[in-house]
């Protein structure tokens, strides 16, 4: 198992190299110029040339990429063009907020998704099933910004107008209350996916002979569903949850913007707009690492859910 993990971690290196090279190339060959964006509109061509020189942008593509790799090998992601701050510091200052929100919304998504999915499968073609599926469809289709604003209007504006205080703060970061609305907004869409996957996976398992056997033995419906069926139905669900967690860790620009959440998604978009190469590179690198680790975690989780999988890890 440890050898397997080691091998997987080793295979991360070419993935990261590939990702950074592609991003570096895209940023480099995109029209526009970081120096032009940084400087005021009345900056002269001379000012811009000087700033380009200062930022090291006049070097050829491969030289710049080599320098980036050399710095990276020393654990240095460089500094932001715009602010001069260390990229690593910038990312580390945003990562906790992103992690918290991702975890909270995933917990919400899993709780809603698993329960709704199981109920829909067990009560197939009943009102419960229809209700869960319609809600899931709504959850997937509802735009984040709309749901976000609706929640703010209710919990903050309506409440403040009716009772003189806000039930939840409209935006910001720092306390548990701040997290509830953005977590619900992000969690809703992901809950919908999990509901659908859980339902179809459960339906498949519930038709298996061993379930009929369990029922025939006279086990309680609860035990049949949650102990015998759910565990076997979990494989595809865990895969989806893992992927969703990866997506959530990427941050959500819209949700972060509405709730003024200091996540990594907003940092990335701002950096892309400012063509702040170093920050974009750093964040993409972080994404690649996180995503690979989450996938590895999911793979390892399989062996706990289904002991047969362990054989593969030798």
């Amino acid at each position: 198992m440890i050898r397997y993990i080691f091998k997987r971690l080793l295979s991360l290196i070419p993935v990261l190299l590939g990702a950074t090279f592609i991003v570096f190339a895209i940023m480099f060959f995109t029209p526009g110029d970081p120096a032009t964006i940084m400087l005021p509109q009345d900056a002269t061509a001379e000012d811009i040339a000087m700033m380009r020189d200062f930022l090291g942008l006049n070097e050829p593509f491969l030289v710049q990429y080599r320098d980036f790799l050399l710095r990276l090998a020393q654990g240095d992601l460089g500094n932001s063009f715009r602010t001069g701050q260390s990229v690593l510091g910038l990312i580390l200052s945003r990562l906790p907020a992103t992690m918290q929100l991702a975890t909270a919304s995933l917990v919400i998504a899993i709780m809603i998704g698993l329960i709704a999915g199981v109920v829909a499968a067990v009560r197939q073609y009943t009102v419960w099933d229809g209700g869960a599926m319609v809600t899931a469809l709504l959850g997937v289709s509802m735009p984040n910004f709309w749901l976000g604003l609706m929640l703010i209007l209710f919990f903050a504006v309506f409440w403040a107008n009716s009772f003189g205080y806000t039930l939840l703060p409209a935006s910001g970061y720092g306390t548990m209350q701040h997290m509830i609305m953005p977590a619900i907004v992000l969690g809703t869409a992901h809950a919908a996916f999990i509901t659908r996957i859980t339902r179809s996976s459960m339906l498949e398992v519930l038709r298996q002979d061993y379930i009929r056997m369990a029922k025939a033995k006279g086990l309680s419906p609860f035990k049949v569903v949650f102990v015998h069926a759910l565990r076997n139905a979990l494989m595809p669900v865990v895969t989806i949850i893992g992927l969703r967690f990866g997506v959530l860790l990427g941050g959500s620009v819209v949700t972060e913007r509405i709730f003024a959440w200091p996540g990594i998604g907003r940092l990335l978009i701002d950096a892309v707009r400012a063509q702040d190469y170093n920050v974009v590179q750093g964040i993409i690198l972080t994404y690649a690492i996180i995503f690979s680790l989450v996938t590895l975690g999911v793979d390892l989780l399989y062996s706990f859910i289904d002991p047969r999988v362990k054989v593969r890890y030798r």
Binding site: P31, G32, T36, P40, D42, F54, T83, G84, S171, L230
Partner: protein, 510 residues
């Protein structure tokens, strides 16, 4: 059994979360002397030399002072300098205030001023604010004694005081810069009424009152700037009491706040002009008659109203109308389709032509391009709209590869030189002069304007310059910017500044 425990745990956790959430929010119960402000973006750095964005400048204005500062009507008054005099037409001598302390307890002297400008203008340090003070002859700044300094300019520069009052010219502590080096932006030390207490990156900058400030302590003990990029979220925060002051209220929320009893909406004319520009050196716009024809054919009122609504008033001249020396009598293109047709025919384009309007992804600019398309169709002019990403757009318009484009100009010093010279002086082609205007008589006037020490004479020169520009029609002015700040009713002493950098020294809470 295990599953049952899990579900039970989950339900308990969720309930706990919801219950905790039911408590009144922290912001709703803020301390009385803690003022919370919603900024429209998060701060990038608190080193005033390194920023070019207004969100950061706003905060820096509370932490630092300049030699001089703007009055609320955009005049200039003493700040760290008590008075000044011109030694010769290029050199200004400042007497500095004594017994002023930096936040680190070190006394402010002329050396700090010299150090600030020398580092700001040092090309090898790459500060973004450099170009704003590029007129200073940095080699020859002379410290006479601790409280007297002479600052020369490369050429006579009548607007020097307004430029020194700009946020790029705020004075940093030499000792603190030497101590913190590249991290000064996260450890700012100035002489301003507030000092940094904590910076939660991406969320908020927390300032606290600097009791030794030379103008006396500020009204509130704590001042927090929260970065809230979404306009409607800022409105909601000020409505619900999450913040006391919210900058840049979106135009769609103006009416709601005007009717609110708990929030007052301060609307003010900002010094920005939105305009459409021609590339006056590319066909067919190198013919002044074509430019004039299009100017006659457009309904500016409609463009301004549809694109900017309450956030803009139809422009009536070639610089923002709130800047002194604005000449309201020169705009000579009321909508007149017959005249437009005549001019086009004279220029040899009676059947019209096809052209490209290049814009960035700003939504008012897209709206304007679309309306223009329909207004110019009557003349047979077909417009292709090309939308570009901001960086590429800036590069393209600087390189003169456009037919027509749209930009805005903020003359943040409030000086007519700043409003006209960058945009219409031929030496600035490829910089802010993206209409590629090249008019020797205009160049002469613009140079004369900045050299002329007498204000009345200067005004006359700039009024003439605007007349010349109008005849040349390099741009079509669309709208003067209007901005609005939402302020809770319990806030006292708030005065909006046209620069957008509203000051909080005198602002208190009831």
């Amino acid at each position: 059994m295990k599953s049952r425990t899990f579900i039970l745990l989950a339900v308990v956790t969720l309930s706990a979360a919801i219950l905790i959430g039911c408590a009144p929010s922290e912001e709703a119960a803020v301390a009385e002397s803690h003022l919370i402000v919603a900024n429209f973006a998060e701060t990038q750095t608190m080193d005033p030399r390194a920023v070019e964005d207004t969100a950061s400048h706003w905060i820096n204005n509370q932490i630092f002072d300049g030699l001089v500062r703007r009055t609320d009507d955009m005049g200039v008054e003493p700040a760290l300098a008590t008075d000044w005099s011109f030694v010769d037409e290029r050199t200004i001598e400042f007497n500095l205030r004594q017994d002023v302390l930096f936040h680190n307890g070190v006394e402010f002297t002329a050396e700090d001023v010299k150090f600030t400008y020398e580092t700001l203008l040092d090309r090898s340090l790459g500060f973004a604010g450099r170009s704003r003070l590029a007129m200073i002859d940095v080699e020859n700044i002379e410290v006479i004694d601790d409280y007297t300094i002479r600052i020369p300019t490369n050429q006579p520069f009548a607007a020097v005081l307004t430029y020194l009052a700009h946020s790029s010219s705020l004075i940093v502590s030499k000792a603190a810069v030497e101590e913190h080096g590249a991290d000064f932006g996260a450890n700012p030390v100035g002489t301003g009424p507030f000092k940094l207490s904590r910076w939660d990156r991406g969320t908020a900058v927390h300032l606290e009152r600097f009791d030794e400030h030379w103008r006396g302590p500020a009204q509130v003990e704590q001042l927090t700037f929260r970065g809230i990029p979404e306009g409607s979220s800022r409105t909601i925060e000020v409505e619900t009491g999450g913040v006391h002051v919210a900058q840049q209220i979106p135009e769609t929320d103006f009416n709601r706040l005007r009717e609110s009893s708990s929030v007052e909406l301060y609307e003010y004319a900002a010094m920005r002009l939105h305009y459409i520009l021609f590339n006056t050196q590319a066909e067919p716009f190198n013919d002044v008659r074509v430019r004039q024809a299009i100017s006659y054919a457009l309904d500016i009122e409609e463009l301004a109203e549809v694109a900017y609504g309450g956030a803009g008033t139809p422009a009536r001249g070639y610089m923002n109308s709130s800047i002194w020396a604005f000449n309201p009598d020169v705009y000579m293109y009321p909508r007149n389709m017959d005249r437009a047709r005549e001019l086009l025919a004279e220029a040899g384009y009676s059947d019209g032509f096809r052209m490209t309007m290049t814009i960035d992804d700003s939504s008012p600019r897209q709206t304007i391009a679309e309306i223009m398309g329909s207004q110019l169709r009557e003349l047979g002019i077909e417009i292709d709209i090309e939308i570009m990403e901001w960086g590429a757009y800036l590069q393209m318009t600087a390189g003169g590869e456009h037919d027509m484009a749209q930009l805005a100009w903020l003359a943040s010093t409030g000086d007519p030189h700043h409003a006209l010279h960058p945009n219409y002086f031929s030496g600035n082609i490829g910089a802010a002069n993206r209409s590629y205007t090249e008019l020797p008589e205009l160049d002469e006037l613009l140079l004369a304007g900045v050299r002329e020490p007498d204000a009345a004479r200067r005004e006359q020169i700039y009024r003439e310059a605007q007349e010349l520009i109008s005849g040349f029609a390099p741009i079509i002015p669309v709208a003067d910017d209007r901005e609005a700040v939402g302020v809770r009713a319990n806030v006292t002493g708030f005065v909006p500044s046209p620069s957008g950098y509203h000051m909080f020294h005198e602002v208190g809470l009831n």
